[in-house]
Symmetry: C2
Subunit: 154 residues, 2 copies
């Protein structure tokens, strides 16, 4: 099976399949005489595993561990659970970070009348010109850089 079919069957784009191979997440695919990559059912299965793991937010590094745990029949469920739990903890941290930012932002918005007048507490606060100014400093959260979503349904 060629890469296009593998992509359709697994739900992972051909681009990403090549990328996963290049970064060592999946082994190098066998090639046909003319250089085309070739995939079997097992490979598709792995790709689907990766897609689902990405869907629950695991990073490439974590997925690599999950894959090796998956392939290791001897591994105790404990190890998997621990990895997943660590990931969940990180996710929760990101969520509360975002929530505190959203909270701060809605405070700001709530205080702005939002009409045709020029006076605006949002800008004033960002400029550090009013009493609420320390309020932002308190939210040191600034350091997440959640990316804009890509529309899968483009």
């Amino acid at each position: 099976m060629n890469i296009g079919q593998a992509a359709r069957d697994s739900g992972v784009s051909a681009k990403m399949i090549r990328y996963y191979e290049a970064t060592g997440l999946i082994p190098k695919a066998a090639r046909s005489y003319s250089g085309y990559r070739h995939y079997d059912e097992r490979a598709i299965h792995t790709l689907r595993f990766i897609r689902r793991a990405r869907a629950v937010g695991f990073s490439a590094v974590q997925i690599k561990k999950l894959l090796s745990l998956w392939q290791d029949r001897q591994r105790p469920a404990r190890e998997v659970k621990q990895l997943a739990a660590e990931h969940l903890t990180e996710m929760k941290a990101r969520i509360s970070e975002l929530e505190s930012i959203a909270q701060a932002l809605s405070q700001l918005i709530a205080h702005c009348h939002g009409d045709e007048r020029q006076e605006c507490p949002i800008l004033d606060t960002l400029a550090g010109e009013n009493s609420t100014k320390e309020f932002l400093e308190a939210h040191g959260a600034s350091h997440m850089h959640a990316r804009a979503r890509r529309s899968r349904t483009k």
Copy 2:
């Protein structure tokens, strides 16, 4: 004032100040004879504005708009509020996306006994081998890539 001092005063790193200049977020700084950038109080003020706006998660593009609104004495508060509200809406969307992923993940974790046995519902689900498999497919959320945080305090 040189860039280093400006960085200390504004809380924006020298690297970032140069970056903001290069990307047009701030105007080109005046230079000394030997090429050193020079900043006045007004510039520091702007940098602080940017830092606070980043702290509440505004993107560079949004900040650019905010800056021009800030500098425009004629602008109605309405415009600012609208921009902020749009941003808040996006943030909330990201948050619920993350929350649904976290939710799915904790379900998975909850179903895993996590002891020395090999049987593990987490891996089984990722592999698509059990009844909960569609459960993941339902969470099409996968597409946020919130970045790992950077430690500011280092």
